[in-house]
Amino acid sequence: MMETQSVLFWSAATLYAGATLLFFVGGVFRREWGTDAGRWAAMAGLVPHLMAILLRWQEVGHGPYNTRYEVVSANAFVLVVCYLIATFRMPRFKGIGMIILPVAFLMMGWGVSTYGVRAEVPIIFKSYWLWLHIGFAKAFAATTLIAGACAGAFLAKEGRPERLPGLPEPARLDTASYQFLLISFLFLGVMIIAGSLWAHQSWGRYWAWDPIETSSLVTWIAFGIILHLRTLHGWTGRRFAWLGLVALAFGVATIYVVTLVVPTIHNSYLVGK
């Protein structure tokens, strides 16, 4: 089973790497077929990726929310899924795969560094709130990355729209960055509240200013400030793009950095050894 899992994982990683190359061909050399082929390669990669996730789930008896490999691999999967859903709704958006697929591939690389680690989940994971909290955490991580990708792409194209022609036009990127940040704000809210209710169920306290709790609240406040600046004060374009990158930094810190740097209630997540 381990060998099958490994083959499936590396198949997915290879397809994401191939998609990356194809998106670069499409984006840099103005080859529409490259962008389309990259999108198809990303879709194809989801199949072995999902199978690898499910096989690991079957092997360890719990979902992809414990070891670093499980978490990061599942987050990469959700990222690619969110990107593909966006391209079905907004076909002009597909060029952003030039940023999304390399990120997904790098995440796979990070995750595979702890591929061999297996860990049992602690008993506090015995809760229905787990599904809401973790599900929306993954959705938050993915949509924040996409919002940040749009912001970065805007800054790359601003003033020179002919640069990287495979990417959508700057106005489109500006709108998409805002839309994804709005969705991400909702997902983050659900993640925080579900986590709070879970903590209340297990420990009798809904909030204890733990570093990870505080980091997620500060991130939610930062997102709120950024969205206010857009909706009430008309911040668009370059200013909003830089804010999008700030939002990305907060999101990455909350999901990946805090729990690795300081002891928190989240230390049974992203387990690496």
């Binding site: 602690p122 509240i193 709790e213 709120g224 400030i225 969205l227 909706t231």
Partner: protein, 411 residues
């Protein structure tokens, strides 16, 4: 400062932004302080300034109060504004366009963009005008709920060894008790006994963890219940919830002449050494030290156990059942067992907080939908279309302009 200026200050974005940034920095730093995370004792300067408990310190509470006032003032202002939009009065952010400059099918374009006619107005998802105020009302409910809950809440911890009972409202029943200013003076009148404790119980699909069976007697309501408790969920009796905590350790069950059975809880010094300092009946301080063959955390058990009694005068090795002098009184160890840690909490108002969470989420969800209003009214140059859409207005105006084949002219 007159009331209008005061109101302007309260509703100013700058005040709100300042308060939010200060709260973010304060909480971000405070949550990382080592004494808040429990790794060290707070330094003297922190105790002197109240920053040994930063989240109940006056500066933090003042910031929260300011946040509540600022949010409340802004919410009232936006609610008024949203009501206006809902009633069909496009705001000053909208655009006034002479109807004569629009193509004849302009209304069809709006209908295709999701607008619907209500009376003499066209609306797009009218209900979503309230998304922002709803979210902020939710925040106010959460802040108010937290204030009430913190005022009435109390919590504490207690330890039990197998066969031991404790009354939470006894003088030494509870440790680390925290209570709000309006919480009851005494802990709940609960008597709790530990029937069994397994520190390495395995439930299917999970790592081995604690499992206890408790007998809980509520003396205030003359009821009793038995509960099996793990660290996944608490148990509720009356208004009190009890939870399984992480700490556990070795305990010595001792029979002391003239005092009956006593349980002495030891603290872990190392994985194979536990110790505790106690006052003997003669007033002297003595120390019990237990050395185990295997780690305290070994699921197979601790293996052979050695106990010694250290007093000011001598150190004595003690075997289970062997009589020894505990101070001046004969005693013997009848069992070496484990104690388990538990916490309890009683809080009023948590439901309000959770309701506030729900309202915040509802507002956040409604934010995903853009809303708009369009109304035709007389203007300086004939009839004018006054149109406002909170998101995507530029795109809508571009569609209207495309239908005329020329840029739109603002009235």
């Amino acid at each position: 400062m007159d009331s209008e200026r005061f109101h302007k200050v309260l509703t100013s974005p700058r005040l709100a932004l300042t308060v939010l940034v200060l709260i973010s920095i304060y909480t971000g730093v405070a949550s990382w302080l080592p004494w808040v995370r429990g790794t060290v004792n707070p330094p003297v300067w922190a105790e002197a300034t109240g920053l040994d408990h930063p989240f109940t310190a006056i500066p933090f509470l003042l910031l929260i109060l300011l946040l509540f006032i600022s949010t409340g003032a802004c919410t009232l202002k936006r609610l008024h504004y949203s009501r206006g939009l809902f009633a069909g009065e496009p705001s000053g952010l909208g655009m006034r366009i002479p109807v004569a400059s629009l193509a004849p099918g302009w209304e069809t374009i709006l209908l295709a963009q999701g607008y619907r006619r209500v009376g003499n107005r066209l609306y797009r998802r009218r209900w979503a005008f309230f998304s922002g105020p709803i979210l902020h009302i939710g925040l106010l409910v959460v802040l108010a709920g937290v204030t009430v809950q913190q005022g009435f809440q109390e919590s504490g911890s207690f330890e039990l060894a197998e066969g031991e009972m404790v009354r939470l409202d006894a003088a030494t029943g509870v440790m680390d008790r925290v209570r709000g200013p309006f919480a009851p003076e005494q802990p709940p009148a609960l008597e709790i006994g530990l029937d069994s404790f397994d520190p390495f119980h395995r439930q299917a699909g999970y790592a081995p963890d604690r499992l206890s069976t408790l007998l809980i007697r509520d003396h205030s309501a003359a009821r009793e219940q038995q509960a099996t408790l793990d660290r996944a969920h608490g148990v509720k009796i009356g208004a009190t919830e009890i939870f399984h905590a992480i700490p556990n350790g070795l305990a010595l069950k001792m029979e002391i002449a003239g005092m009956g059975l006593r349980m002495l809880h030891l603290r872990e010094m190392s994985p194979t050494t536990s110790a505790g300092t106690f006052t003997a009946p003669d007033g002297n301080t003595v120390r019990f030290v237990v050395e185990t063959e295997r780690s305290l955390y070994d699921p197979l058990g601790t293996g052979n156990v050695g106990v010694r009694l250290e007093s000011p005068y001598q150190t004595t090795t003690i075997m289970k059942g062997m009589p020894f002098l505990f101070g001046t009184e004969p005693a013997k160890i009848t069992a070496i067992t484990r104690w388990a840690g538990f916490t309890y909490s009683r809080s009023f108002g948590t439901g309000v907080i959770f309701a506030g969470f729900g309202v915040v989420l509802l507002g956040s969800f409604l934010l995903l939908f853009s809303s708009g209003v369009a109304a035709v009214s007389p203007g300086n140059r004939g009839e004018e279309l006054n149109i406002y859409q909170n998101r995507g207005q530029k795109e809508l105006l571009r569609l209207l302009a495309e239908s005329t084949g020329s840029p739109l002219e603002e009235a």
